[in-house]
């Protein structure tokens, strides 16, 4: 239980409290909380799934890693954590439901990058910082 306590957010507990049976609660605990909350590898995987052309994304990511010394050599987990930070999300608070919102959150963040000029020039392309990190995620080692 202590593991559950540590990784299950208050919101998730409240959500679970609405469930009508203990079975459901137990099931919910195992699916939505600690034992279970998505780890960074799952987060990374879900983020990558938002991309349609992963082979091209990997090329972009490799080019970015070659250019940006602070990104070079980072693992997928590290980059996924960085992206969660950018999105204002806490890795420890993540739930599976939240994974579903990642695509929208990333899209909004990308547009905000362009508004705030948080961009990367890669070769002759201007890309948002967030999407470039996302591509780095594809290229990163696990």
């Amino acid at each position: 239980m202590s593991q559950v306590d540590a990784r299950c957010s208050r919101r998730d507990v409240l959500k679970l409290a609405t469930c009508s049976s203990l079975v459901t609660v137990v099931s919910g605990l195992s699916a939505g909380c600690g034992l279970v909350g998505p780890d960074l590898e799952e987060v990374a995987q879900r983020m990558i799934e938002t991309l349609n052309h992963r082979d091209r994304a990997r090329e972009i990511g490799e080019a970015y890693m070659a250019q940006a010394s602070d990104i070079r050599g980072q693992t997928r987990e590290q980059l996924a954590g960085k992206l969660l930070d950018i999105l204002g999300l806490d890795a420890g608070e993540m739930s599976h439901d939240m994974l579903e919102s990642l695509e929208d959150r990333l899209g909004n963040r990308v547009r905000r990058d362009f508004l705030e000029e948080d961009v990367v020039v890669l070769g002759r392309w201007m890309l948002s910082r967030t999407e470039t990190l996302l591509c780095a995620l594809v290229a990163a080692k696990t």
């Binding site: 972009i60 990308v110 201007m126 890309l127």
Partner: protein
């Protein structure tokens, strides 16, 4: 009337109230303003009614500054002038273009848009354009069933250009000139020099020569130069029998401040990340209110003030095969980041963005007479040396302008920008060139130490010599000059009528 000056005799003297040198857009439009006005107008045109390579060679000169187009290819030297090959894009200067901007040395006109606006409206039908309205793009788009892009108005705004057919003045107004009882266009008439009184403050006559033909003179009460941004200063500099430095050149400003639009075509490619976008308002021509219009993008005045930039504009061109068609499997809510591999420009859907940017007025950029004895034209007169100068500041301006465009296309979720200048901001890209809009060489000012002509286009220090056309523009904004220079000439026509009355 159209008169072939080759049929005149040597020593002939033409007498007129006004002698206009040049029968391009300005010369023809201005001359026809006097049709039936009870004044004799003599228009001197170097060429005939058709292109002639020998006459055209009189435009040859040397680019001694940054390389640009050969001078004889920029303009056309026959009846109708350069309108015989112009593209027809029209938009008035904005009010802001006339203001002095403290971050742009030598900026500012002595007149305001309010003084030009009535003439802009009058110019509209002369250029075969629709109703004079450049402010209603959104309404036009609605009527056309098209959409403006959802731009952040703090960065870029959509504005309208009108498209002239384009009007070829030499054909469109040939009959009107022929019919006129008081406007005479003398073809094959090259003005070699303006002869003035002994104080060089009053022009008495123009010395004219035909290639393989007679030489004659024109005596007139007023003289108007309307031969463009290169030849206007050249003729003033060639008129040096009395004033050794040239007429109206007491302060050495004739030919200085030569400017031209800075073009990057293309400035960037936009790899589209969405398939539901409609750029037709920008990439096509649309008939409305009796004319053709299309949309362009430009920064609001506030942005140029805030970032200390000159004005610029973006034109969109559709290049992708079927940008409006679904592109299988490439749509992404992440706006297509994976669509833009840095290694390959291969893309099934993209648009191209062309940029035109206002240059900074620069006294170090000039046109002047060559001192090289080998650089003489058919009449033995010095050809021009042109020193086109572009500065690091202008390069920085161009880089920032393209950055702003790239940011905005990303923010709108339209696509990602590919632009050489993003990678190498300290180098002009290969696609950089000049706009062939020769301006500034006889600039307008309220003070003879700052310009060559006054607010009425009269040359300082010469009581009957006027210059009109783009050479008097002290600043040129981002827009094409033709509509504006014709309007300025109508204004000059009114001024001369009033003066005559």
């Amino acid at each position: 009337m159209l008169i072939d000056a080759k049929e005149l005799t040597n020593g002939h003297i033409v007498e007129a109230d006004i002698c206009i040198v040049g029968a391009g857009a300005v010369g023809i439009a201005m001359a026809l303003e006097f049709d039936g006005a009870g004044m004799d107008i003599a228009v001197m045109e170097s060429g005939g009614l058709e292109y002639d390579p020998v006459t055209q060679s009189l435009y040859e000169g040397e680019n001694v500054g940054r390389p640009t187009y050969p001078l004889e290819t920029n303009r056309l030297r026959y009846f109708g002038g350069t309108t015989n090959h112009w593209a027809g894009h029209c938009r008035p200067f904005d009010a802001f273009d006339f203001s002095e901007r403290e971050w742009i040395p030598h900026s500012g006109w002595p007149i305001t848009i309010d003084e030009l606006e009535p003439y802009l409206a009058r110019t509209q039908p002369i250029m075969e354009l629709g109703e004079y309205d450049y402010d209603s793009l959104n309404e036009y788009a609605r009527q056309l069933g098209l959409k403006t892009l959802p731009l952040d108005g703090k960065r870029l705004i959509s504005v309208m250009k009108h498209q002239s057919p384009p009007t070829r003045f030499g054909t469109a107004y040939r009959d009107a000139v022929k019919r006129s009882g008081n406007v005479s266009v003398y073809l094959h008439s090259n003005v070699l020099e303006l002869h003035s009184d002994e104080t060089a403050s009053h022009v008495d006559s123009a010395e004219v020569a035909c290639i393989d033909g007679p030489r004659y003179r024109v005596k007139a009460k007023q003289f108007v130069l309307a031969t463009g941004g290169m030849e206007n200063p050249r003729l003033m500099l060639l008129s040096n029998s009395t004033a050794p430095d040239g007429l109206g050149n007491d302060h050495g400003l004739v030919g200085r401040f030569y400017t031209d639009h800075l073009l990057i075509r293309p400035a960037m490619d936009i790899s589209l990340s969405r398939t539901d976008l409609d750029f037709r308002l920008y990439t096509g021509l649309h008939e409305i209110n009796g004319g053709l219009v299309f949309g362009i993008m430009t920064p609001p005045a506030d942005l140029t003030r805030r970032e200390k930039l000159t004005r610029f504009r973006f034109h969109l061109y559709n290049l992708g095969p079927g940008y409006q068609k679904p592109v299988g499997g490439v749509f992404s809510d992440l706006d297509g980041a994976p669509e833009v591999a840095p290694i390959s420009r291969e893309s099934g859907a993209h648009i191209q963005v062309h940029m035109a940017m206002e240059p900074m007025p620069n006294p170090d950029a000039f046109v002047r007479l060559s001192t090289d004895e080998d650089e003489r034209d058919l009449f033995g007169q010095p050809r021009l040396e042109v020193n086109w100068v572009v500065t690091e500041r202008e390069l920085a301006n161009a880089h920032r302008a393209i950055e702003i465009g790239a940011l905005e296309f990303g923010r709108m979720g339209i696509g990602r920008a590919y632009a050489p200048i993003l990678e190498k901001p300290d180098e002009w890209p290969d696609a950089f060139t000049s706009g062939k809009h020769h301006c500034g060489t006889t600039r307008m000012a309220d003070n003879p130490r700052k310009g060559v002509v006054d607010r009425n286009c009269k040359v300082f220090g010469v009581d009957n010599l006027y210059v009109t056309g783009s050479s008097v523009f002290p600043n040129i904004g981002h827009t094409n000059p033709t509509l504006n220079l014709v309007a300025l000439s109508l204004r000059l026509a009114d001024h001369l009528k009033e003066k005559s009355a």
